[in-house]
């Protein structure tokens, strides 16, 4: 068929690693189990990848190819919201991505597709490059932080654990927390909480953008 007889190549390995990550999570991915899944000897993988870290890098690259760019019309707020939601869909499809990003910064070229879209929106809104870069970063930290610390569907068992811990706190030492137990439990994750925070940040960005476009139209 192809010009190579090899059973695998770097791309096939990266994609299979990503599939394993999506199905079983980061802890379940080992070089040995991945090799088994691919029907090759463990050491074969090292012909395509220098180390497990490099394998994870490659898997991250494969994941970020899933990011679907977003329409380029509307105001800053609408465009940023659409962009963030697109990144969020990618993080939902590949729940290990945020964990991987925490291990090592992403330097794969495809990952910068997301950065490009986000930066473009902010530059279009009139922000100077330094402020655009900082705003982009705040959104990035919020998105990946949310994926890591408050996933879309926090397991009900997790909510129960937190509620149980809160209910055991003495009211006199923790008046604020104990007066808002259910509200705190509701805030530990989920789409509603994510969107609350997103709109909060968008409020602040929009306010700053207005200042810039005001400055521009007055000059």
């Amino acid at each position: 068929m192809s010009t190579r007889m090899s059973k695998v190549n770097r791309d096939v390995i990266a994609r299979e690693a990503l599939a394993m990550l999506d199905e079983e999570g980061l802890d379940a991915l080992s070089m040995r189990r991945l090799a088994d899944r691919l029907g090759v000897g463990t050491m074969t993988l090292y012909g395509y990848v220098r180390s497990k870290d490099e394998l994870l890098d490659a898997a991250v690259g494969a994941a970020t190819e899933d990011y679907e760019p977003v329409p380029t019309d509307g105001g800053v707020r609408e465009r940023l919201r659409a962009h963030v939601q697109a990144v969020r869909r990618m993080l939902e499809r590949h729940p290990s991505l945020a964990q991987l990003r925490a291990r090592q910064p992403i330097v794969q070229a495809p990952a910068f597709g997301m950065t490009e879209r986000g930066m473009q929106i902010l530059l279009d809104a009139g922000f100077p490059p330094d402020e655009a870069a900082r705003l982009f970063r705040v959104l990035f930290v919020y998105q990946f932080g949310s994926a890591l610390f408050g996933p879309d569907e926090p397991p009900p068992e997790q909510r129960r654990r937190v509620r149980a811990a809160l209910l055991m706190l003495p009211e006199d030492a923790f008046p604020a927390v104990t007066s808002a137990t259910e509200e705190i439990v509701a805030s530990i994750g989920g789409r509603e909480q994510f969107e609350f925070g997103l709109e909060l940040i968008l409020d602040a960005i929009e306010a700053r953008a207005a200042r810039y476009s005001a400055a521009r139209s007055h000059q």
Copy 2:
């Protein structure tokens, strides 16, 4: 000396684990190496701790005792800023904390000391409990996300890796990113970036708080 002859107890184990985490990082902490450090057999640890996960929980508990509460005067903005900086100092002293929090939610009682302070400030500002809880969570995600994705002192080598990756991108496919290379490199971490994002979020919170106090004074 004490009523027990044991060489260790749960507290000593938790604190030594935390010291190891601070000095060598999460990957370097193993039950075997911790036991060696304490001069006991590996299996002795399992007399005080059901599993490594429980050990890490205990270490997190020990770390959060380091949070120093903060003066209760000033406006919402000043009080929140002081609170966030206190949490940040704790995260600086214990750089593994954010990573640990990503593995499992914290349900140790001492950790809720931070929640209590943050919630108190927001409730004092007039926010209803549900909004206070959601705002607190946004700040939490931002703080822990920043610690994980953009540490205070990003290793210069990390900045160099990102810069090198950016410089390799084709200008025509990545016009926004390539026009702001240095600004993006500057934004990947550090105190300045952290404070930029913090002030952005405080802008939005202050604007909402103003609405509440306006509503209160008009009624």
